[in-house]
Amino acid sequence: MADPIHQFEIVNLVPLAKIGSTELHLTNSALFMIVAVAITGVLMLGTTAGRQLVPGRLQSMAEVTYEFVADMIRSTAGEQGMRFFPLVFSLFTFILFANLIGIVPYTFTVTSHIVVTASLALLVFLTVIVYGLYSHGLGFFRLFVPHGIPGYILPFVVLIEIVSFLSRPISHSVRLFANMLAGHITLKVFASFVAGLGTLGAVGWAGASLPLIMVVAITALEILVAFLQAYVFTLLTCIYLNDALHPGH
């Protein structure tokens, strides 16, 4: 049976530079990060180059993406949240296209590596802390003190709030990482069942049809998951940024 973990292996493709003893290669991960950025560029710049008053299909896609992210920010963080629009939009498109490209066979899923998702989650986490302290000073720490809590349990509540705040980047990053990892392992396992049973002749072919159907169904599910996880990551980003904007609530 094919190793379902092999697909997550980082492979050096092209050696680029040598800094001291470490070499910088164009890896498969790097290639598909660049592809994700390029697709975003084509979607947002290539299709809007005409600046049509009445949008065509492709420009509509770009506009729908724009409005989708803008509405998400407005509904969770209010109009002030729009100052983080470029960050949120970059996160959404990067994760969405990284996830979607990963479903294509023989590609690499950038977001199936914890170091990538953790970096993005930490970027959000640090943005929240830095902006929160910058705009509210020490008032930012009101975030940990909810209103209307009796004095005698307040220390516990504050402790819980701090722990939950600090664990945010973990849940934020692991959710995306684990979803992409698990989905791709499942796909690979079912796909290897198809190949394995296919070698057993006519009976095997009949038996292989079942996992084949499963692979098709799971691929459809993975497309949903790819979109959903990008949405969830972005939505949580907006909710966390709302804390930096309005820590009093």
């Binding site: 980082i10 947002m44 506009e63 590596h113 914890i114 990482f177």
Partner: protein
């Protein structure tokens, strides 16, 4: 099916990497972080400096165009309403004027025909009185003639019967006496 051989060849480099779970291999983190940093900065700059401002301006232009068109439509509708109001007012004025002219004409004609009728009636009445006068005169004249003839006839009848003519005055008195009866 070449899958089993491919599977073994696939497995070989995996173990060649020293096994382990790829996402937890710390030696790959450096390169991934460098590439992620590069890509994300490029993406962020592209999105923040080019894509979003362009998209915002496209949407703002469209919003402005739609608002402008709506305002223009409202203005034109106002003009059309004003034109309709003017037209209806003109129509009402014309109708009123027509009404006034019609009633004035009717009254004038009625007055004229009344005057005409009165003058004709007066004329007729005058002619009637004149005719009556003529008739009365004629009648009086006729009566006078009848009396003269009667007196003569009475005188002649009495002369025939009695053989002697009565006096003119006696015959006249007798005729008057009969005529009065």
């Amino acid at each position: 099916m070449a899958q089993p051989t491919q599977a073994t060849t696939e497995h070989a480099p995996a173990s060649g990497h020293g096994g382990g779970f790829p996402p937890f291999k710390a030696e790959t983190y450096g390169s991934q972080l460098i590439w992620l940093g590069l890509c994300f900065v490029v993406l962020y700059v592209m999105v923040a400096k080019l894509a979003l401002p362009r998209m915002a301006s496209i949407l703002a232009d469209r919003r402005a165009r739609i608002d402008g068109d709506l305002a223009e439509a409202v203005r034109l509708k106002g003009e059309a309403d004003a034109a309709v109001a003017t037209y209806e007012k003109a129509l009402a004025d014309a109708r009123n004027r027509a009404h006034t002219i019609a009633s004035e004409t009717r009254e004038r004609l009625a007055r004229e025909s009344e005057a005409h009728r009165k003058s004709v009636e007066a004329d007729l009445a005058r002619q009637l009185t004149e005719a009556e006068k003529t008739i009365a005169a004629g009648k009086t004249a006729a009566m006078t003639n009848v009396r003269g003839i009667a007196v003569d006839a009475a005188g002649a009848i009495v002369a025939q019967l009695v053989g002697k003519a009565p006096s003119q005055a006696a015959a006249a008195a007798a005729v008057d006496h009969v005529l009065k009866r």
